[in-house]
């Protein structure tokens, strides 16, 4: 590019850069600055306090719990969503009658607004009226209703189930699209070579879509780590912080208790985690692109 052309290029991308800067980096940097100041309801004028809020939070056992919860939540929701999504995609990829209808029905949980899904699941988990309890009682697995969302031992598992239900269609559709690009000649070659369905899945089909799997794992990880609505509506992060993850904790501290500085510290930590994930995402993306060129 000549000097002049480079100038032109900058002029053309400048509006986009400004927009991204204003919409994304300004709040991000704002958060970092915020975390260095003490602002509260009684003391609305920000006062610089350095890393004091960081020390305070790191010393607080709740921080450890939020990290642990976020980890459990993210790992289980992502794993179950992907496994379940892949299984459903494999099923939908079969030639069968009513396939079109099935494909649209599967999408239903995903198109439902998060808050609606959360309320639906709160009903299902209701100790007296809930479907979950009546089902388990009629199956003889439990003998009286459990308050699934009110017990520290069951709350996390319960919201994980709800989030998997809400999110698996996304993975299913992504994987279905990927499965349809798998070269049928390879699958048929494996059939002729004597490979059964399971072998073909692991030897031909999954290697054929492994880039899509990697990308989808990362995308769902980022989305899950940032999840807010379902948890907030179902448990508020409780009981006793049992389901508090970064986004709910930030909301609780900032808008529930007006401890903006501390909320911002949680924000900074979650920005770090997300930045890391996004770096991995682009790494995988460019590796996939390289391989695409090589073959």
């Amino acid at each position: 590019m000549s000097h002049r052309e480079r100038w032109m290029a900058w002029i053309f991308v400048a509006p986009a850069l400004l927009l991204v800067g204003a919409l994304m980096y300004y709040p991000m940097i704002g958060t970092i600055i915020e975390s260095l100041y003490s602002t509260s309801f009684i003391n609305p004028v920000p006062k610089f306090q350095g890393l004091a809020a960081y020390y305070k939070i790191l010393a607080d056992p709740i921080f450890g719990q939020v990290v642990w919860n976020s980890l459990i939540w993210t790992v289980f929701v992502v794993a179950l969503q992907n496994v379940f999504g892949l299984l459903v995609a494999l099923l939908l990829n079969q030639q069968m009658p009513g396939q079109g209808l099935m494909r649209s029905l599967v999408l239903l949980p995903w198109v439902l607004p998060g808050v609606v899904a959360a309320i639906l699941w709160r009903f299902m988990y209701d100790p007296q009226l809930g479907l979950v309890n009546s089902l388990l009682i009629s199956l003889g697995l439990i003998d009286h209703g459990t308050a699934w969302l009110a017990e520290t031992s069951t709350a996390m598992g319960s919201i994980i189930m709800a989030a998997v239900w809400k999110g698996f269609p996304f993975s299913a559709i992504v994987y279905l699209a990927a499965l349809q690009t798998v070269d049928q000649e390879q699958v048929e070659a494996a059939k002729i070579d004597g490979a059964g369905a399971t072998r073909r899945l692991f030897d031909v089909v999954l290697p054929g879509i492994k880039d899509v799997i990697a990308i989808n794992l990362l995308l769902t990880t980022i989305l899950t780590f940032n999840y807010f609505d379902i948890i907030w509506v179902m448990t508020n992060g409780g009981p006793q912080n049992a389901t508090a993850i970064f986004p709910t904790q930030i909301y609780e501290l900032g808008f529930g208790q007006f401890r903006f500085g501390e909320a911002a510290v949680y924000g900074v930590f979650s920005i770090l985690v997300l930045a890391l994930l996004i770096m991995v995402y682009f790494g995988v993306l460019s590796r996939g692109r390289h391989r695409g060129k090589a073959s």
């Binding site: 070269d183 000649e185 390879q186 048929e188 070659a189 494996a190 059939k191 002729i192 070579d193 004597g194 490979a195 059964g196 072998r199 030897d203 031909v204 290697p207 054929g208 492994k210 090589a294 073959s295």
Partner: protein
Amino acid sequence: MILASVTLSSVSKFWGSFVAVEKISLAMADGEFIVLLGPSGCGKSTTMRMIAGLDDPSAGEIRIDDRVVNDLPPGKRDLAMVFQNYGLYPHMTVADNIGYPLKVAGVNREERERQVRAAAERVELGGLLERKPGQLSGGQRQRVALGRAIVRTPKLFLMDEPLSNLDAKLRVYMRAELKHLQRDLGTTTIYVTHDQVEAMTLADRVAVMANGKLQQVGTPLDIYNTPANVFVAGFLGNPPMNLLPIAIADGRVQDSELTLAAPAGVNGAITVGQRPEDMRLSETDAGNMAGEVYTTELLGDSTLVTVKVGKNLVAVKTDKNTKVHMGENVGIRFDPKHLHFFDTTSGTRVAFDASR
């Protein structure tokens, strides 16, 4: 040697109401090289896929040796297939690709490596075992597919247009290689192509198909010399046989452009055929018909002269030094020993007494 005979009895395939393959019956002997030849869409691949077990026949019976295999999955039919795009596993090395059928069969690693090396040597891939398919040329990929096919010495080879992705020169070379390999291994082979030169050069017997139906089965010479119907006559040969519709009544050709002694027993609406190489140019009044030169094409070893006779174009293969010009009037003489007669309505060959 383990060889297989394959028998199709009245095999059909319908896609909904569309008939892709209609009542094909065909018996292939042990060690035979059979080529399914026909234009695009005539059902060659479908027929082969039914033999492989990749598609289920809608009707009829397929036997390998004496066993009905209709309900046997592909992996249990003891056959290998080479696909048009080779169907190689892109994430596996050449060695793993070739060794895959053995791995599935549970052959241990050492034995597998030995057999893979032997197969790779056979298809001249020795130095490339650690590469991935993406790092190979088309011809090399083709060899990997062949290697994977021969590695477990199957009873039957199926090949669906395996050479069509290669450039012209490599295709001729691989054609010879393939023929040599097949003769060497002696494995029964079914080969699908729409290229008549491939069919002629490779086949012990050719099965010509059109519109889902079998037209003729025979040695390459058989089908070239005595085509069973107008379709086969017009499909084979380059350029194909000249076909002229005429009417014969009372032993006389009722066509003003053509003077020809009609053989005994040939009557009615008839299509007369003769190959371009059997025809000769002559003086206008000395031939069986006459017309105006339409084009001349030098083919190298010969010259192809196309003559417009009435509404028809007739191709005549002549000596390469023939000098005729566009628009010139010429006569065409038939070789009476190489005439073909077909019933125009049904298209089938009409037998006649050539001794007259």
